[in-house]
Symmetry: C2
Subunit: 118 residues, 2 copies
DNA sequence: TCCTTAGTTCAAAAGTTATTGAACAATTGG
DNA sequence: CCAATTGTTCAATAACTTTTGAACTAAGGA
């Protein structure tokens, strides 16, 4: 951990909803959910927006408490705060992700990737 | 029915999330959910915002497909589009409302009302 | 050390959303 | 018909959000 994150109980429902209401950020969250457990760096999302703009959107997600960003070397390892979100808003994240997965008009990242087993 | 409403399949997830991301609109939706089945008119929400501003927020909810507004006399009878929302985004509305109910910092309407049986 | 990679910060511009008051329209009760 | 009630529309403004590019920092490898 390094950058400012809200604690679990500081996570606000309207802010989370507003943050997820942006298609770029929703695409980021969907991808994080699909790769759950695997910390990703920002470069994974470069087909969604410019580097600068991504920095902005990732900060919004972090400040809302949706993601956690850890500085490791020159990278930021980004993970979904599923535990905290599920505790605060049970069922919300799953229903949002399921709804997004059912909508082919939404932007997405890494939808054509090869699964690699450990 | 009278004013323009999206059809069920035109309801967009990011738009619904963004619309619910506003505390005033979230309060309206919560109240509609609590009074489910009972069509309400705008005056019920006057403690949340001015008449003009309410008209704006109620239009946003209607245009997003979250509510249905029917003109009856000089009133608008407003209902939650629960059926359509549940079909498009299963579980979403319930988890949002449950999360909102658990947050005492959010604005609310009609929380101290007398239940009247039919 | 120098260069590259990874991402941030800043200020500006563009775009969008929210809020306001005044004026308007439609319905209904007296 | 008149007045009151219910809500909308409009234009203005205020307040945010998003997007951009240029400049920057920090770590790591050659």
């Amino acid at each position: 951990m390094s950058l400012p994150h809200p604690t679990a109980d500081q996570i606000s429902l309207p802010i989370v909803l507003a943050v997820l209401g942006d298609p770029t950020r929703l695409a980021i969250v969907r991808y994080l959910a699909r790769k759950e457990g695997v910390p990703l760096n920002c470069s994974k999302f470069l087909d969604l927006a410019s580097k600068t703009n991504l920095s902005y959107h990732l900060a919004k997600l972090r400040e809302a408490g949706v993601t956690r960003s850890e500085a490791v070397g020159t990278s930021r390892l980004i993970t979904l705060r599923r535990d905290d979100l599920d505790k605060r808003f049970p069922g919300l994240l799953d229903s949002v992700i399921a709804a997004a997965d059912g909508d082919s008009t939404l932007p997405a990242v890494g939808t054509s990737e090869v699964e690699v087993s450990a």
